[in-house]
């Protein structure tokens, strides 16, 4: 659990982060979203003390994050940044091993961990381990950057626009991979982004920042349904709201009894994808299949449209 209590950061006369308090539950994904200059990155960097706050306390599992020297604290917290920041003079394997080496793990344990992470990220340790970062594609570099952040099995992973430099197709894949890995390791992730789409997709909770202040901190449904201010409303995008709401739900939760013609849609797909498919093909209903391929029922345009309405 991460408790942020009354955190303020001032540079001379300008207040970058203004009295922010929030609690991030363990094993959840918290997305901090805001425009540039909103203080979201500064807030993130105060958690691992790359920036020291002017006032306030941050507690990790009840312990003040100033009870350790900064560098020791940072070794226990994963940190992934935009444009990956891989060490260009070190191989992929050496990059991933950075924090374990600093912590003095023995060789076998480091190798086992590096191999595990590379396999998890679909990079063959034999083929990619000895390569240098500039020999990798952008998507691969990004994966290595996240693998490096996760190498020492941190409970907390901080990410500063980790997908910012990726093209849309690779970005979606990277987001899915991250969510899968988060579930697997139970890591608490705090992710900074300016992209509301990404926030709604990734976050268990979303914190909206504006001009250094925390404007709203709530579940995505809540942010979409009841934006706390005009700023949040703009950030959400009025015309996008129903579709973002649908993108939160899975098709399996909108299944109705009955059958329909045509290609079945998997139950794991988002309701937004289902509606898009229905509208595009001009059909009133789609069959739904489970993971095992068995039919679950169908989704209908009417049913989905009802779900896209503003929650009560």
């Amino acid at each position: 659990m991460i408790e942020i209590e009354g955190i303020t950061k001032r540079y001379d006369a300008t207040t970058v982060v203004d009295d922010v308090s929030m609690v991030i539950e363990p094993r959840t994904v918290c997305v901090i979203v805001g425009t540039s200059g909103s203080g979201k990155t500064t807030l993130l960097r105060m958690i691992n003390r790359l920036v020291e706050p002017t006032a306030g306390v941050i507690k990790l599992d009840g312990n003040d994050n100033r009870s350790l020297p900064g560098y020791e604290l940072r070794r226990s917290i994963g940190y992934a940044i935009q444009g990956h920041g891989l060490f260009p003079h070190r191989t992929v394997a050496q990059n991933i091993a950075t924090v374990p080496v600093l912590l003095g793990w023995d060789k076998d344990r480091i190798k086992a961990r590096v191999d595990e992470l590379m396999t998890l990220y679909q990079l063959d340790p034999q083929a990619y381990g000895p390569r240098y970062p500039h020999e990798l594609s952008g998507g691969q570099q990004q994966r290595v950057g996240v693998a490096r952040a996760l190498a020492a099995e941190p409970n907390v992973l901080l990410m500063d626009e980790p997908f910012g430099a990726l093209d849309p197709i690779i970005r979606t894949k990277a987001q899915e991979d991250l969510l899968a890995i988060q579930k697997r390791f139970g890591t608490t992730i705090i992710l900074v982004t300016h992209d509301m789409e990404e926030a709604v997709h990734m976050g268990d909770k979303i914190a909206v920042m504006d001009a250094g202040k925390l404007v709203q901190y709530a579940k995505p449904e809540e942010i979409l349904a009841r934006p706390a201010s005009a700023f949040v409303e703009t950030l959400v995008g009025a015309s996008e709201k129903p579709f973002r709401l649908l993108s939160l739900g899975r098709v399996r939760d909108a299944v109705e009894k009955g059958t329909a013609e045509g290609e079945a849609i998997p139950g794991d797909a988002s309701q937004r994808d289902a509606l898009a498919e229905l509208l595009w093909s001009g059909r009133p209903a789609l069959p739904v299949k489970g993971d095992d391929g068995k039919p679950l029922g169908r989704v209908t345009v009417d049913g989905l449209v009802k779900r896209a309405a503003r929650p009560a």
Partner: protein, 250 residues
């Protein structure tokens, strides 16, 4: 041009240089036309090989000392604690460069006597600037997100310096050392005016006895050394840049 031609030329130059300093007698017929009054065509007051080695030793000692001091200074002034010394150290090093080496020699002789010492002092002062400037450039232009990642991973200041900053700026620092060495190779000849054993001795002897052959052979050996060392260090620099994952654009 064929790719192997430059390598062949370098090899030929190395062979020629070694042959000349070990067996200068072979080249006597070539240099004979440059002498008058039956003067000797090959330097005869000492072995060319010994002088060449002493010349190189002087340059090596001065460059190693200049490298240690300049890099240490650059590291110091790029740390947060040393930042305020940046202007001071810049001007100090610049003064070292603007002082003519001959003047340094003249001032150093009364203090440390004749011989190799005043030459080392002059070369050391003269070699500082290129290395310092390059080390400073290297250490202050490191990619920001790499430095951020190094801090974020929990490296201490010392670990960042050793594991990230110095390796990444190595190619630029090497470039400074290369410039410094080439300047020193040429400047070292002046050291013979205060009795340092360098190839300058051959040139000065030629000037004193109006023997063009001496001047030419001294000058040519220094020039060949400079070309070969410049070339060799450039190759090391390119290799390091590649190892550091930087594109050299070649």
């Amino acid at each position: 041009m064929k790719a192997w031609l430059p390598s062949l030329l370098r090899l030929a130059l190395v062979v020629l240089l070694i042959a000349f300093v070990t067996n200068p007698g072979w080249f006597e017929p070539l240099l004979k036309p440059l002498t008058e009054n039956n003067a000797p065509a090959i330097y005869n007051q000492g072995s060319l090989l010994t002088l060449t080695l002493l010349h190189l030793r002087t340059v090596l000692i001065a460059t190693v000392a200049a490298t240690i001091v300049a890099v240490a200074l650059a590291i110091l002034v790029t740390r947060p604690a040393g930042a305020e010394f940046l202007p001071l150290s810049r001007s100090l090093v610049n003064i070292g460069q603007t002082f003519p080496p001959v003047a340094v020699l003249a001032l150093a002789v009364p203090a440390v006597g004749f011989g190799e010492k005043p030459t080392l002092i002059a070369l050391f002062l003269y070699g500082l600037l290129p290395i310092f400037e390059n080390a400073l450039t290297g250490l202050t232009t490191l990619p920001g997100n790499v430095m951020e990642a190094a801090r974020g991973a929990g490296m201490t200041g010392w670990q960042r310096l050793i594991k990230v900053e110095l390796p990444l700026s190595a190619p630029i620092i090497l470039g400074g050392i290369r410039l410094s060495v080439v300047i020193s190779l040429a400047t070292a000849t002046i050291g013979s005016t205060v009795a340092a054993k360098t190839l300058g001795e051959v040139i000065i002897a030629g000037l004193l006895s109006n023997n063009l052959a001496f001047v030419l052979q001294g000058g040519l050996i220094v020039a060949a050394l400079a070309v070969l060392i410049y070339d060799g260090l450039s190759a090391i620099e390119r290799y390091t840049a590649r190892r550091m994952g930087q594109e050299t654009g070649e």
